[in-house]
């Protein structure tokens, strides 16, 4: 989220699309109802189903799963065509005026440079024209035919209301109502917020769904505004934290990223990362990359990381592929190329696509280690549960070690929420039986392996031997010790750049925040963006001052938000070029002549002059991007792409299947179904009564939503002779599930490109362990393909068939 949950109360219009906030985030959704009740705000819901969020909306529009880009491009087109644009914002805070290279083009649903064999683009033409001065050429008048603005205008012109209806199945008049209401937020005094979640990410074009809305928000001037922004409603309690801390195959901490084979040494690695500004006087904050990276290496390997050995750069694994993401790992596992797998509080057997493939893959492991407070289907993937898990136990050779861990109530530490708040919590209960903290378990694995390497030697033990593990009790580092490491400290006295005789941070002291980090090895910091969370002032994540001056919703005294306690990202953009708030009633910060002051920590140097430095300091341009150059694999602008399994061909290019640059493994390509065989669109989702596969273990939630079901329209039920509450079988090319049928008016058939499209809704909370009735998950049906940029599986749009059936059979055990 660019903004905080509590900030949503400041909005005039909430657009819930690609998410279902009321059901998945009820207590955050409270702030939507507050905005409605006290600001007269309106709520728009665009969703294939009439959800519980829609039940309290002012305007609901149905949409076919996987067509959000067309819908949003249609809205952008509407705003551009009707001059509903925040012009000042657009000219000064976006790259609308940047001139694009001549080579760049788009036709037949493809951008210039497409290579069909490689399933990839040559992106060199997707860039700005660079002048002699080394800066990008712009035309502030927006007249230049090759400026981003005019290229975008041309690009979205095809998405007329008629085209939107044709692709999305959204009735034209409904779409126009939505577009009209959204366009009113181009007024500087009107702000819209976007609340989205997995409804946008779980598509092969997921990143572009989000881009499309982000662009719309920039055109309306809503980024950085109080009550505005792009608000990703993240799933798990600390999914933000684990991403920030780089627990991903392509990341290191703080969005520093993993080196590749093309970067054999540190110098080479740094070359492509210390971005120089593309416009005069801009900050391009990544210029500090080296400071963060060296401090990170020092946090990892302490004294053994020196300038001489490139700060142990060679200790870091180098990638030969963009990422060893989950899908790739299971593909490798399926090929027998993976021997061991550790699942820490994770239930992949239900979480990832194509369960049959997952089971086959897990069966090929030598060993599987699970760490969880609860039973998981993954830990028992080898156990036969009749139709619910029909495996041949004896033939599965995988050794499974199941480790009991503590849960939230029994441990201390911080979680980072969607709004980037790092909130500390304390243990309230005693763990059951012999359950242990994950930290203890990881420490044990590390210490025991290090001991083995010390005794026996083995493959490249150096990183283990030198890993800094400086804790009072090496067997169990405390949350505080680890938090202090994450914040970072001075290893030797850090001098004040302004006055080299003055010690800024004495050796051994915590750094104030990342502004004090150095690239000379004098500082260490586990995760630069978190720096400031636990400094000499103490544990800022444990602060509990809930005062909110003038009720802006900022709560600066409540815990700690990254970066440097900033609550609204890009908040500099909430003020005009001269530094005055676009809307005085929504002031966050303003320029008082010599510095920025206000309710939030300015997202810019406090003394940076408004006319000189742009608000988007992380970008080389200093402004936001309507055109992303070559940064996204599937295009600098979002373009309509059908899901890999679609009920109709892509109207832009009938030959185009799915996202043209998504990675597709051979075996999976053969497992895509066609609309002839599988006429209905399946989509998966969560229900408010449950949280993933956890709460089915809870007697209370099990009582509130006891049994697996699918939702279909009354029309489809009639057509198929399916009865309310009766059993149905739903199957795709990859698998089959049995469920109770909920027949509802909330799902209505859509007409797309002249064809009637029925949607089958498939919630995801059931398995074969826990207190609720045994059931299936949608992942028995979903396709094994991900988003072209980030490899998030396409679980929101796929093809299925459905028929009335009998109930499943239990295990004959």
């Amino acid at each position: 989220m660019t903004n905080a949950w509590t900030d949503i109360k400041n909005t005039d219009l909430v657009v819930v699309m690609g998410g279902n906030a009321a059901e998945a985030h009820p207590c955050g959704f409270k702030w939507v109802t507050e905005a409605k009740a006290h600001r007269g705000a309106k709520l728009i819901v665009v969703d294939p189903r009439y959800t519980r969020t829609a039940s309290v909306s002012d305007l609901y529009a149905p949409i076919r799963p996987g067509t959000d880009i067309a819908f949003l491009s249609g809205v952008i087109n509407y705003c551009m065509a009707n001059g509903k644009v925040q012009w000042e914002y657009l000219r000064n805070f976006t790259n609308a005026s940047f001139i694009v290279k001549d080579g760049f083009a788009y036709q037949d649903g493809l951008f210039s440079g497409y290579n069909e064999e490689k399933r990839d683009y040559d992106r060199t033409s997707w860039d700005y024209v660079i002048g002699e001065d080394g800066f990008a050429v712009t035309d502030p008048s927006l007249q230049h035919p090759r400026c981003v603005w005019n290229l975008l205008k041309e690009h979205v012109s095809v998405y007329t209301p008629e085209m939107v209806e044709r692709i999305c199945g959204t009735p034209k008049e409904k779409f126009l109502k939505v577009a009209e209401l959204i366009s009113t937020c181009s007024a500087p005094g009107k702000v819209m917020t976007s609340m989205y979640a997995l409804g946008w990410t779980q598509h092969s074009s997921g990143s572009q769904n989000i881009r499309a809305m982000a662009m719309l928000q920039l055109i309306l001037g809503n980024i950085g505004m109080r009550g505005g922004g792009m608000n990703a409603l993240r799933g798990h309690s600390n999914i933000q934290g684990l991403t920030d801390l780089g627990l991903m195959s392509h990341l290191l901490t703080g969005y520093l990223n993993m080196p590749t084979e093309k970067e054999p040494d540190f110098a080479k690695y740094m070359e492509t990362r210390q971005f120089k500004p593309l416009r005069p006087g801009q900050t391009s904050y990544w210029q500090n990359y080296r400071k963060f990276m060296v401090s990170f290496q020092k946090a990892m390997w302490g004294d053994s990381a020196t300038a001489e050995n490139d700060w142990n750069y060679h200790y870091l694994p180098k990638l030969d592929v963009p990422s060893y993401d989950v899908l790739r790992m299971f593909e490798l596992m399926y090929d027998g190329k993976v021997n061991g797998y550790i699942c820490q509080g994770f239930n992949p057997l239900l979480a990832f696509p194509n369960r049959a493939k997952l089971t086959a893959a897990l069966s090929k492991l030598k060993f599987l280690i699970t760490m969880d407070p609860l039973e998981t289907e993954t830990a028992r993937f080898w156990e036969n549960h009749g139709e619910y898990n029909d495996v041949d136990t004896a033939s599965i050779e995988t050794e499974v070690i199941q480790l009991p861990t503590t849960c939230f109530a029994e441990e201390e530490g911080s979680l980072t929420n969607s709004g980037r708040w790092l909130q500390w919590h304390w243990a309230g209960g005693t763990p059951p039986g012999e359950a242990q903290h994950d930290t203890w378990i990881m420490a044990q694995i590390f210490l025991r392996m290090r001991e083995l390497y010390r005794k026996e030697g083995g493959a490249f033990p150096d990183p283990l031997m030198n890993l800094s593990w400086d804790y009072a009790d090496p067997n169990e580092p405390t949350a505080e010790e680890l938090a202090r490491e994450i914040n970072g400290r001075a290893l030797t006295d850090v001098m004040d750049p302004a006055d080299p005789t003055k010690v800024l941070v004495p050796a051994g002291k915590q750094v104030l925040n990342f502004s004090q980090l150095k690239d000379d090895g004098s500082t260490m910091c586990g995760c630069w963006i978190y720096s400031g969370c636990f400094n000499e002032q103490g544990n800022n994540m444990a602060r509990r001052d809930n005062h909110d001056p003038d009720e802006t919703g900022a709560y600066l005294g409540w815990t700690f938000a990254w970066p440097v306690n900033r609550r609204t990202l890009y908040n500099r953009a909430s003020a005009d070029l001269s530094g005055k708030p676009w809307d005085p009633t929504r002031k966050i910060i303003e320029w008082n002549g010599e510095k920025w002051t206000g309710y939030d920590v300015p997202d810019i140097s406090p003394t940076a002059k408004p006319e000189e430095v742009g608000p988007f300091i992380m970008n080389q341009e200093g402004v936001s991007r309507l055109f992303t150059r070559g940064m996204m694999r599937d295009g600098p602008f979002p373009a309509h792409m059908e899901p890999f399994e679609a009920p109709i061909p892509n109207v832009m290019n009938p030959k185009m299947v799915g996202n043209p640059v998504s990675r597709v493994f051979v075996t999976d390509a053969e497992e895509f179904g066609t609309s002839a065989e599988f006429p209905y669109v399946g989509t998966s989702y969560r229900l408010t009564e449950h949280f993933h596969y956890w709460t089915k273990h809870n007697r209370v939630n099990a009582a509130l939503q006891p049994e697996f079901f699918v939702e279909i329209s009354e029309e489809l039920a009639k057509e198929k002779g399916i009865e309310k509450g009766g059993w149905v079988r739903v199957w795709s090319k990859r698998g089959s599930v049995k469920a109770k049928a909920v027949v509802t008016k909330r799902i209505r058939p859509l007409v797309c490109d002249g064809k009637t499209v029925h949607v089958v809704g498939i919630p995801l909370h059931w398995g074969f362990t826990g207190a609720a009735k045994k059931g299936f998950g949608p992942n028995s049906l979903t396709p094994f393909v991900g988003d072209a940029n980030i490899e998030t599986p396409e679980s929101k749009a796929f093809l299925v068939n459905i028929e009335p059936s009998s109930g499943p059979e239990e295990a004959s055990a």
Binding site: W5, L242, L332, L467, A771
Partner: protein, 199 residues
């Protein structure tokens, strides 16, 4: 008391004078002793409050754990109730159907209590000690790492990759646990390392 009165009323009415004396002998005490109006004993009295955060979605609602016993003092603490924290700016004490039932997540019948091992081909888990489990894990992992760790690629570039063992980290663990986990996994050279953010 008023039953007493109304009985007299009844006796007048029915005029069954004699009955009065005998009735007492028939255990009327019981019928008359109606329990006085009272509300349920307030169950949070004398519990320990601990501030925590809901572990489910990323709204991160503030919660208060009410327990018998104080975990911070090292006592055995038995969680009795969990409720929203009124002081929390986001949820203001409210909770969703999941958060409101957190107590039964903590106490669910399928909470894991002991390390278990399922041997190759077996149809059951067998309980083992932590030492057995952890030594086994260290051994399995080291053997696989030693066998499949790639120090250099064909081009002779140091790559220090371990691709034959992967790890999924939990997006519900604390940042601190995540950092410890990160250190161990990346140090071992595990590249097949992801978390729920991928899904």
């Amino acid at each position: 008391m008023n039953v007493e009165l109304s009985r007299r009323g009844f006796l007048k009415l029915a005029g069954a004078g004699a009955a009065g004396t005998t009735l007492g002998a028939m255990g009327f005490g019981e019928a008359e002793a109606a329990t006085v109006a009272h509300v349920r004993q307030f169950k949070l009295t004398a519990t320990t409050e601990v501030r925590n955060t809901c572990p489910y979605c990323s709204v991160a609602c503030g919660i208060i754990i009410y327990a018998k016993g104080d975990a911070s003092k090292g006592e055995k603490a038995d969680i009795l109730h969990i409720e929203g924290d009124v002081d929390h700016p986001t949820n203001r004490g409210t909770l969703c159907p999941k958060g409101a039932a957190l107590k039964d997540f903590v106490h669910s019948a399928t909470r894991l209590k002991y390390p278990m091992i399922r041997k190759s081909g077996s149809d059951r888990f067998e309980r083992v000690s932590w030492d057995q489990a952890l030594d086994r894990i260290a051994r399995l992992m080291k053997d696989d790492r030693d066998a499949n760790f790639l120090t250099h690629n064909e081009a002779g570039v140091p790559v220090n990759r371990w691709t034959s063992t992967g790890m999924l980290a939990a997006s519900a663990t604390t940042n601190e646990t995540a950092w410890a986990t990160f250190k161990v996994a990346k140090t071992l050279g595990i590249v097949g390392f992801d978390n729920q953010a991928r899904v």
